[in-house]
């Protein structure tokens, strides 16, 4: 009498877990997002609390500080306006030349700001949760970036939140290019730097002859996920692998993944 229910509960839970693990990926993702919905009120409370705290801090700031900040922002604004006009002229020129060469026109980026609301609690993945989802038009594989550089790609979309696989996660392999030499490679996770999330490995590089520490790495545009030219990071180390068959470079990512608060999702 005493033993039967003990093993019954074990069998039930084992079966439940095995069924859950073997569910089809799409269904499992949907189920995950439904279960994760439990946290929405908690995230809402956290966001509104931080907004209240921010407002309280803003009201407590001294007037002199606000004036100096205003002056600094005005200066920055005028500098950026000048850069914007310069960029707009260059873009028009570029489009004219593209038209002459019968190439496709470059479209301006359509970006949407999102707030980081959570991080992966497991230590063996590098993902974050953002507060926009399918209701905002987000789809899987949309690139995610900050003004500093590439962050990752959308790996999972829910109604009002999405999961982003960061650069350096096994789910986010990026086709990269050394800006100076135009050599192509693939960015994969750095298994030697699991504690510091600021590094990734660029592999399948043709050789080490042209590699130099400090060279910039950008997206190559191959694979059609990430547009060409987004900054990824800088080379900090390199070595020959597999008896000189190819080379690998250690890349320090341009974006500090530990301190992400707001990110931009690039729409097509």
């Amino acid at each position: 009498m005493h033993r039967k229910p003990r093993y019954l509960s074990v069998i039930i839970i084992l079966l439940t877990a095995l069924i859950l693990i073997s569910l089809p990926k799409d269904f499992s993702h949907k189920l995950k997002l439904i279960i994760g919905g439990v946290f929405i009120p908690l995230f809402g409370v956290t966001q509104s609390t931080s907004q209240v705290v921010d407002k309280a801090v803003d009201t407590a700031l001294p007037k002199s500080f606000l004036i100096s900040e205003l002056e600094r922002l005005q200066k920055e604004n005028s500098r950026l306006r000048a850069q914007y006009f310069q960029g707009r002229t260059a873009l028009a020129e570029n489009n004219n030349l593209r038209e002459l060469l019968e190439l496709e026109k470059q479209q301006p980026w359509n970006l949407k700001l999102a707030e980081v609301v959570g991080r992966d609690p497991a230590n063996w993945w590098r993902t974050i949760q953002i507060d926009i989802g399918s209701r905002d038009g987000v789809r899987t594989n949309y690139p995610v970036l900050t003004p500093g550089g590439l962050v990752g790609r959308i790996s999972d979309v829910g109604f009002n939140r999405s999961q982003v696989a960061l650069v350096g996660d096994p789910q986010c392999q990026v086709a990269g290019m050394i800006e100076e030499t135009r050599e192509n490679g693939i960015l994969v996770p750095a298994t030697t730097d699991l504690i510091d999330h600021r590094y990734a490995i660029m592999t399948f590089l043709p050789g080490t002859e042209a590699l130099k520490i400090g060279q910039n790495v950008i997206t190559s545009g191959m694979g059609n996920v990430f547009p060409k030219g987004i900054v990824i990071g800088q080379v900090v180390d390199f070595q020959v692998v597999d008896f000189g068959l190819y080379a690998e470079a250690k890349i320090k990512l341009a974006v500090n993944m530990n301190r992400l608060e707001k990110v931009w999702v690039k729409f097509p």
Binding site: S28, G36, D120, A122
Partner: protein
């Protein structure tokens, strides 16, 4: 509602808050490069003080909530948490649950076993998690943090149990049929 029912709700709420804290707070991750996990400690408590049904429900809810915020396939943590809770519940009658050293030791073992089991399940399901030599450091930090958190969480749960649950009556050794009645001969 039965006493165990309230304890189950308390433990499930603790799981929810714990997963939310782990997902939204990165202070410890920034210091040590490791996110600590409180769920194994909750499983140790449920294994020692609650019934089998509570162990199952806590593992199910905690595991599902954890996996919903993670890139883990759904169900991976359910299995690992349940195994931790079930093994502890097997020895609940023999373990010194009030002793702080025992609590710390159980917390350490649970904090170490839970991620290892999760990783084994993940890899056997064909996933490739981020693993390297530094994973050993991460496992060590998780186990130590669990060991440190166990007595503290036991204190909190004991207080909550005292507040929300009624105490079981202790059986008296007095039996009226064996009473010795002294009287004058």
């Amino acid at each position: 509602m039965s006493m165990n029912g309230i304890l189950t709700i308390i433990l499930i709420l603790a799981c929810m808050l714990s997963v939310f804290w782990e997902a939204s707070n990165g202070i410890i991750r920034q210091f040590s490069g490791t996110q600590i996990d409180i769920l194994p400690v909750i499983m140790v408590y449920s294994g020692l003080f609650a019934g089998r049904r509570t162990v199952c429900l806590t593992a199910l809810s905690g595991g599902l909530l954890f996996d919903s915020m993670s890139a883990n396939p759904l169900g991976v943590n359910v299995l690992s948490l349940f195994l931790v809770g079930w093994v502890v519940s097997m020895g609940k009658d023999t373990l010194l649950k009030e002793d702080v050293f025992t609590q710390c030791f159980l917390g350490f073992l649970a904090g170490l076993a839970n991620p290892i089991i999760s990783l084994l399940i993940l890899m056997s399901a064909g996933n490739i998690p981020l693993l390297g030599w530094e994973s050993l450091w991460q496992l060590f930090i998780m186990a130590v943090a669990s060991a440190a958190a166990t007595p503290l969480l036991f204190l909190v749960f004991d207080k909550m149990r005292k507040v929300f649950c009624y105490q079981t009556t202790t059986q008296s050794s007095f039996r009226s049929d064996r009473e010795i009645i002294r009287k004058r001969m």
